[in-house]
Symmetry: C2
Subunit: 442 residues, 2 copies
Amino acid sequence: MSDEVISPELTPLDELKLHWNELHVEDRVARFTALQRDDAEEVFLNLETAYQAELIQNLSPNLRRSWIRMLPLDDTADLIQHLPIEERDYYLSLLDLDTKREVIGLLAYAEDDAGGLMTPHFIRLRPDMNVEVAIRYLRAHSKHHEQTIYYCYVVDPNQHLIGVISFRELLLAKPGQLVGKIMKTDLITVLDTLDQEEVAKIFSEQRFSAIPVVDSENKLKGVVTYDDIAHAIQKEATEDIQKIGGMEALTLPYWQTGFFTMLRKRAGWLTGLFVGEMFTTTAMSHYEQAIERAVVLALFIPLIISSGGNSGSQASTLIVRAMALGEVTLSQWWRVLYREVGSGLALGLILGTVGVLRILLWPNREAVFGSHYELVAITLGASLIGVVLWGATAGAMLPFALRKLKLDPASASAPLVATLVDVTGIVIYFSVAKLFLTGTLL
Amino acid sequence: MSDEVISPELTPLDELKLHWNELHVEDRVARFTALQRDDAEEVFLNLETAYQAELIQNLSPNLRRSWIRMLPLDDTADLIQHLPIEERDYYLSLLDLDTKREVIGLLAYAEDDAGGLMTPHFIRLRPDMNVEVAIRYLRAHSKHHEQTIYYCYVVDPNQHLIGVISFRELLLAKPGQLVGKIMKTDLITVLDTLDQEEVAKIFSEQRFSAIPVVDSENKLKGVVTYDDIAHAIQKEATEDIQKIGGMEALTLPYWQTGFFTMLRKRAGWLTGLFVGEMFTTTAMSHYEQAIERAVVLALFIPLIISSGGNSGSQASTLIVRAMALGEVTLSQWWRVLYREVGSGLALGLILGTVGVLRILLWPNREAVFGSHYELVAITLGASLIGVVLWGATAGAMLPFALRKLKLDPASASAPLVATLVDVTGIVIYFSVAKLFLTGTLL
């Protein structure tokens, strides 16, 4: 993959960046400290927060100050949040007083709120400045700010946000014009407490490289920039995928997650699902006599329950993702239900037909399925329709139920549906069998 | 959710944007055409490509030209790709000749390559221009370019990319300096054929708002900007999630996907998995006599196979995502194997213990599980260890196998693993049963 990325030549530095996460921690630290300062800076600034935190903890104490001061404010706050609580004060003490105060301000926000994503450094202008003065102000101040901010924010004396103007607009405007006359007042802003998933949605709908963050009084608190949000989008997707896969979301990359942390994040849900799945044993024991009389019924149990589980996983992941992207809203549950009943029926008919043919066309069908194989085929086909329909419906409705309960719709949705459908699938199957086979096999 | 996004007042326009995808297509068109031109522009430019295509097809022919010409080049190309093939020439004919030529150039790239994402409009400078001339050139030309590009690219007479300089750097430099002296030459570029997933990875590692796209001779072809990539990141994540959920990825949002398209995308994998799952019936029929002799064994089949399936889904989604993010590379398969064998064993021991306790501590254990319930408990515990270990290992290795075979590791990975583990889980279970129960129950 990465060989398609052209670099005129692959330097030892590129090599290190490329294979960073394959190295052991001691090697990472050793190779990092061996770098020239400017190469080291390039590596350090582009690392994941987790790796930055790892490095800084492993550097000799006299180097830590200069490295932690390299970072932009919002990244410093993220770094501090990745450190053990008991060490945070020590690292905060390495910052200059102004920075420390601002970082502590950022730490008050959850990492995944707009307030936790934003940088508090941005260019503030007054509406009564003219363009020439504004550009002079900019030239004097913009070196101190993150290079990614291309907008200037216009505030009144009480820090209320009243307008925005891009660097380019300033550059193209006549020198004597007032900022207040040419600024854009039709603003997109986000609340500092808005979840980053929602912030990401707004970014992907709008074409801005930065969005201002305000508090509930419309006072400007900071700016979220596209690079923070690209990272946030990836992180949200990762969390959702891990949850859909039936585990707690990891906070660190795969190799950085310790064995026991990983085990805990996985064992919790796996045990929970296992306990839920125990109801299949209870359900099955109700039908023990039926199985005893017609063992042939047992042959199809894995097929039946897995078909329900698969159609349920499909439907739930589909809806979970559509919800995360805002394509489907809570109030649309009945339209989704209507549609998924249709899909479930059609899918059930397809699988039911394949299942019936599997029995009717099998070479030694009587030897394997007994002399009543046609009735067994009907039982299988009808059960599949019921189970697949139920899987699709339950799978599509579970995310709505979870969201309604203020839970994350992604939480273990696929395996949760599978477990639910396994238990009910058994009941559906044996009920159908009773209907068609009583008097012959049962 | 959306109520947390502050807009001073929620205008009818905001209302429309918010509920756009809940409306029926006729309502969307009717409400769009009723808008003031500037409101309509704001709506149109920020719509998903699929909705832009829908609108333009439903507008009266005399309006189409002005709307399609509103779009930036790369978005026009995307729009054309969303239209039926037989209509494309008609819509291309609505463009001016220059634009048409450039759009056709873009159409040659796959939509999800860097070449398909890029805009061919950007500012080109020569290294021997001085800063003053460059700024004058910029003032004259930048109005014609997408507002999101903040970099100027420096090329030699043969269009080879030799450097980059940001607007801000130009603005802060001394007027007489040569662009060639102050430009940055240490460039990050991507090949025009690079997949957007890889482009997204580079964006989230680097802090640039735009990355230049070059061909194999290092000639500058265009620029990918952060807003295209934020969208691409979301799209890639959606595709992966849908594939992990066991279906083909959708190209359109949920409500825009027709019933039969949706059915086709789901029925394919569902039927495939069903056919694979039929091997469980074959496997079960091998153990028909064992079930006949000890029906109690049948009770645990759903529990056994679902535990294997869940541990497999967990491991596979974890690795699929880690691969997509570049956290885990193909060559690391043995390290992952080593780790997952450890996790699988630990998880198997946990579930095995819970399973054994479930039998040993059940109030009427002898009535339900028979007089040999201790042996049944050992059989269940040992099988769970084996099945969960196998699930975690197979789940973690399948993405490597798929990638090695040049297939997408995300493809139905979770249900594929579940199916694989279901069949083998049955074999493991009955083999363990034979070991422990021959002479007593079997």
